[in-house]
């Protein structure tokens, strides 16, 4: 009945002779929340970055709402036109581990920037929309401050507002809490949780296994250059079937209390 928002087939990335992952098939349905787990170096961030082509995928196909994006190329990585990339990235938002806010713009300026420059929305309207998005992440009162005045958690919430302002169909989170003080992790996860209740389609790379369990509708565990095990959080996290998944989870539970 429902068509996937995002479909990857035979998706792969290699840097020269180094294979990061290959033959990944994945259908993301509207409203899916997928947590991607894996040991470091398993390619989970690279997979996420290949989806909005910050990293150019090498092979396979990428479909957004049934439209194929990019072309295979016989030599090296896939090819994407500048126009395709800009269109794709407006539909697939991204939140980074290091926030990457624009330091020379105010908080509201950061959020309004994409609307103004990419969409051509008039400054006044873009500003209003920015404030609305900032309200959603609880930072409307910071609209006129500069990012350097914010805590890490606040910065990340601004970065989320910046992505939301473009009305993306899919949101990608690349370890959004890994650079944060433990005390600030909660406020960011709270915002992501709230987005989940709104039924947004999201892919999240994280080390917060507990959060992944509560947040995700589906877990992908990456290992050995591909999707090693996948399923519901209960399946994968409570009853992992395969040895590397079991080992990974055991490692994470080592210091639980």
């Amino acid at each position: 009945m429902n068509a996937p928002v995002l479909r990857l087939s035979g998706f792969g990335k290699h840097f020269g002779s180094l294979r990061v992952f290959s033959d990944i098939d994945l259908d993301v349905m509207p409203g899916d929340r997928i947590a991607i787990l894996g040991a470091s170096g398993s390619g989970k961030s690279t997979l996420l970055r290949c989806i909005n082509v910050l990293e150019t995928p090498s092979e396979g196909s990428l479909e957004l709402d049934g439209d194929v994006v990019g072309q295979p190329s016989r030599s090296g990585d896939m090819r994407f036109s500048e126009r395709e990339l800009c269109a794709l990235r407006q539909r697939v938002g991204m939140v980074f581990q290091q926030f990457n806010l624009f330091p020379h713009m105010t908080v509201a300026g950061n959020v309004a920037e994409g609307l103004k420059t990419v969409r051509g929305v008039p400054a006044q309207k873009a500003q209003e929309r920015a404030v609305t998005e900032l309200q959603r992440v609880g930072l409307a009162d910071k609209a006129d401050t500069f990012p350097s005045r914010l805590s890490g958690g606040q910065k990340q919430r601004v970065a989320i507002a910046r992505a939301l302002a473009m009305d993306p169909e899919i949101l990608l989170f690349d370890e959004p809490t890994s650079a944060l003080d433990p005390a600030l992790v909660g406020e960011v996860l709270g915002v992501i949780e709230q987005l989940a209740t709104e039924g947004r389609t999201m892919l999240l790379v994280t080390h917060e296994i507990g959060f992944a369990y509560h947040f995700a509708t589906r877990i992908l565990f990456l290992a050995e250059g591909g999707i090693y095990e996948s399923g519901t959080p209960d399946d994968v996290l409570k009853n992992p079937k395969r040895p590397l998944t079991q080992q990974f989870l055991a490692e994470h539970r080592r210091f639980q209390f």
Partner: protein, 224 residues
């Protein structure tokens, strides 16, 4: 004991003023042209297209590593022979100093641009900006703040380098000073006055520049 006497120099002050005006015109022309040339060379140098970045690299290296006096002679004496065009001292000097300072500016711009973290590019790209939009809205505004001190340094250097045009008889400050020294037999006094003019005007520029730098540092409230 040498007797200092500035009165013949001061009596002909208008003569030096003409030279000073010409120096300012030449510097302003070379500077504005040099900034444009520098930006174009920097973009070409940063391009992934080999047919752009290789020639840009060659131009930059040639003009950075050869003496400006030789470059001036190329343009003034060489170019008219090769292209059979008319060349005036002002045109030759403008071209020379535009490209010469452009080569240095290009390296300053390039260093400023590549010093901006990768994450800034990625964040701008990730909201759907084109390469040019990223450059114009996100990268350059931050890079310019970092480049500003070296740009000022280079501009001052340029103003002093323009004294070389005296050798192709463009009536700049130094050329006029030479004439005046021969007329008055007071070279020490004349060149002391010239040094003073350079000292005062360049100090003034430095002062304005450092105030602008402080303003930059305050606006945006971030330290690069």
């Amino acid at each position: 004991m040498y007797e200092w006497d500035f009165s013949p120099v001061l009596a002909e002050g208008g003569f030096l003023l003409v030279g000073f005006r010409n120096t300012l015109i030449l510097t302003a022309t070379a500077l504005s042209g040099g900034l444009v040339v520098g930006l174009l060379l920097a973009f070409a140098r940063l391009s992934h297209r080999r047919w752009l970045n290789v020639p840009a690299g060659v131009v930059i290296e040639v003009f950075r590593t050869t003496p400006p006096l030789v470059q001036l002679f190329w343009f003034y004496f060489g170019l008219p022979i090769v292209l059979s065009v008319e060349m005036t001292p002002f045109l030759a000097a403008s071209l020379t100093f535009m490209i010469q300072s452009g080569a240095f500016f290009a390296e300053i711009f390039r260093a400023g641009i590549v010093s901006i973290e990768r994450g800034q590019w990625e964040a701008a790209r990730a909201i759907g900006m084109t390469y040019n939009q990223c450059m114009g809205r996100v990268i350059l505004p931050q890079a310019v703040k970092r480049m500003f001190p070296s740009m000022m340094e280079r501009s001052i250097e340029l103003m002093k380098t323009t004294t070389l045009v005296a050798t192709v008889s463009y009536a700049d400050l130094l050329f006029q000073a030479n004439e005046l020294a021969q007329k008055t037999f007071r070279p020490l006094e004349v060149f002391t006055v010239v040094a003073l003019i350079y000292f005062v005007s360049i100090s003034f520029i430095s002062f304005v520049a450092s105030r602008m730098e402080r303003r930059f540092a305050r606006s945006g409230e971030f330290t690069p």
